[in-house]
């Protein structure tokens, strides 16, 4: 999504309270569409640019705290530093780009849109993913994609322990090593269709030079979908 920028506004969080900035960003969409917003001195503040629902292009010039760009719709949010826990949590659509690293639970429960993290992501990245695309340039921590239901999760580096535990229908592509797979997560053969999805995501996340064939795909073995009498002893 490319937003046609008609006006650029600057906010400095050392001067303007974050609540005021967020309230402005929550204004009537017709008055906000096409605006570019630059936020200086974020200094790790929580909840920057959460709940956006207009065609905005927001740039956060530094490190963001918890839940940055959470619940995003339509807007494009770029964080030039790192992001705290829960970046783009429950995103519905739009584009969130973290140029540094992201802490735990990045992209948790995200329904739609694209989350791109250039650095590493912490634990539980893309946990309970519900349809968004998440591309991590570095490695992800343990328990990532736990119970991920739908969407695509691309990891250019390594994955920690228990990747994709109890996964549903989300697709995981890992270029590096996986420390261990979670319950019911298994290696998959990449179909021509899935290769296309992966190639497209690599281009859209600034990794056009990376060969889609260098990834291993993972997904659900679907053995936990229904009660099985052989597992009765485990309950």
């Amino acid at each position: 999504m490319e937003t046609l920028i008609v006006e650029t506004l600057k906010y400095d969080l050392d001067v303007t309270p974050l609540r005021e900035v967020n309230q402005f960003l929550h204004g009537d969409a017709s008055g906000l569409n096409g605006k570019a917003i630059v936020i200086d001195n974020p200094n790790g503040a929580h909840n920057i640019a959460v709940g956006l629902k207009a065609e905005l292009d927001v740039t956060i010039k530094g490190h963001a705290g918890y839940y940055a760009a959470g619940m995003n719709q339509i807007a494009k949010v770029t964080i030039e530093g790192s992001a705290g826990s829960g970046v783009a949590e429950n995103m519905m659509s739009g584009h969130v780009h973290v140029k540094g690293f992201a802490s735990n639970a990045a992209g948790a429960t995200a329904n739609g849109g694209l989350l791109v993290i250039d650095g590493d992501a912490g634990l539980r990245c893309a946990i309970a993913l519900k349809g968004a695309d998440v591309v991590v340039g570095g490695s992800v921590g343990s328990f990532s994609a736990f119970m991920a239901q739908a969407g695509n999760f691309v990891i250019l580096g390594d994955a920690g322990e228990g990747l994709g535990d109890s996964i549903y229908e989300a697709k995981i592509f890992v270029r590096g090593k996986v420390k261990s797979l979670g319950a019911d997560c298994e290696e998959k053969t990449t179909s021509a269709e899935d290769r296309k999805i992966l190639a497209n995501l690599l281009v859209r996340s600034g990794h056009a030079d990376v060969n889609p064939d260098s990834f291993q795909q993972y997904g659900s073995a679907r053995t936990l979908y229904h009660f099985h009498v052989d597992n009765a002893g485990a309950y």
Binding site: N41, N43, G44, A45, G62, H63, G65, Y66, G81, S82, G84, S85, G100, F101, S103, N104, D120, G122, L123, G141, S142, F143
Partner: protein, 298 residues
């Protein structure tokens, strides 16, 4: 919740302003811990044959001068007493065992917060800004420090329950998180002859490490035993005479962020507490991995 901060100043010129550098770090963690705060400061060492004893009195107008006189009279020895509100630092050449017995006999209501050649501990209830102001944290000088802001979840809000805790001379620990097996750990350690001062879960972790080190473990081995024994969430930050050490639990439940710069190493629960540090833009900022030990030496 709780907030932790740590600062180790490598640039000699900046060591006189360590208190000033630290103050916004501690205040930045107010939302994470508004009910009490504490600081362990590693400053200039006392004479090689001496030790300092950080004391705390629950009474605001405690007569520290009288304590100093009593100490010198009863034990026929010179001592120095430096009061700061309801805290005081007593410096003497007598052994910790002798001092402890004397305190217990003559001033049983006093708390002995720490013993060492470098470290002073201040901790009290109140917001971080109030506590810092009460003890003039801003003007502290030294090489490194460990601080804490507390939001109590499992035991009472009292100065004794505030962090840091100590487990040996010039050794302290602060904790963000909660332990679910603190009571069973305490019972186990009490059988080993380890004494407890509070029912705080962090104290159980601290005494566990104290016990392991008493049994001959170095810090790293003690912490590896800790990964096996401590059940719960924790980011632990420890200070010793010449280093800071940090670990996060294997699930990474509690946060930490590190800034390594040529002039300093700064640690906090969140970046909010590091943003003001000089030239932070050129520091290497990163999140420590769970179940790994990070150590910075002076």
């Amino acid at each position: 919740m709780c907030g932790i901060v740590g600062l180790l100043v490598k640039n000699q010129k900046m060591r006189d302003s360590i208190g000033e550098l630290m103050l916004p770090m501690l205040i930045g963690m107010t939302e994470r811990g508004p009910d009490s705060a504490g600081l362990a400061m590693f400053g200039a060492p006392v004479a090689a044959d001496s030790r300092k004893f950080s004391l705390y009195s629950g009474v605001a107008d405690f007569n520290w001068t009288k304590l100093g006189h009593d100490f010198e009279k009863h034990l026929s020895i010179k001592a120095k007493i430096e009061p700061k509100a309801n805290h005081a630092v007593l410096t003497t050449t007598l052994s910790p065992a002798t001092v402890k017995i004397w305190l217990k006999e003559h001033y049983p209501a006093l708390h002995l917060l720490s013993v060492g050649q470098l470290m002073d501990i201040y901790k009290d209830v109140g917001t971080p800004a109030q506590v810092a102001d009460r003890y003039d944290f801003k003007n502290f000088k030294g090489t490194h420090l460990v601080g804490h802001t507390r939001m109590a979840t499992e035991s009472a809000v009292t100065p004794a329950h505030a962090h840091p805790f100590t487990a040996g001379e010039d050794w302290c620990l602060v904790h963000n998180g909660s332990l679910s097996n603190a009571n069973s750990l305490r019972r186990k350690l009490q059988k080993e002859g380890i004494e407890f001062e509070t029912d705080n879960d962090t104290e159980a972790a601290c005494r566990f490490l104290q016990w392991r080190m008493r049994e001959g473990d170095d810090l790293e081995t003690a912490l590896n035993h800790g990964f096996e024994e401590l059940d719960g969430f924790y980011t632990l930050l420890m200070g010793t005479s010449n280093q800071l050490a940090l670990v996060r639990d294997p699930f990474g439940c509690k946060p930490a962020i590190i800034a390594e710069h040529d002039d300093y190493v700064a640690i906090a629960s969140e970046f909010r507490s590091l943003a003001h540090l000089p030239d932070i833009k050129n520091a290497k900022v990163f999140e420590p991995s769970p179940k790994e030990m990070y150590v910075w030496k002076l």
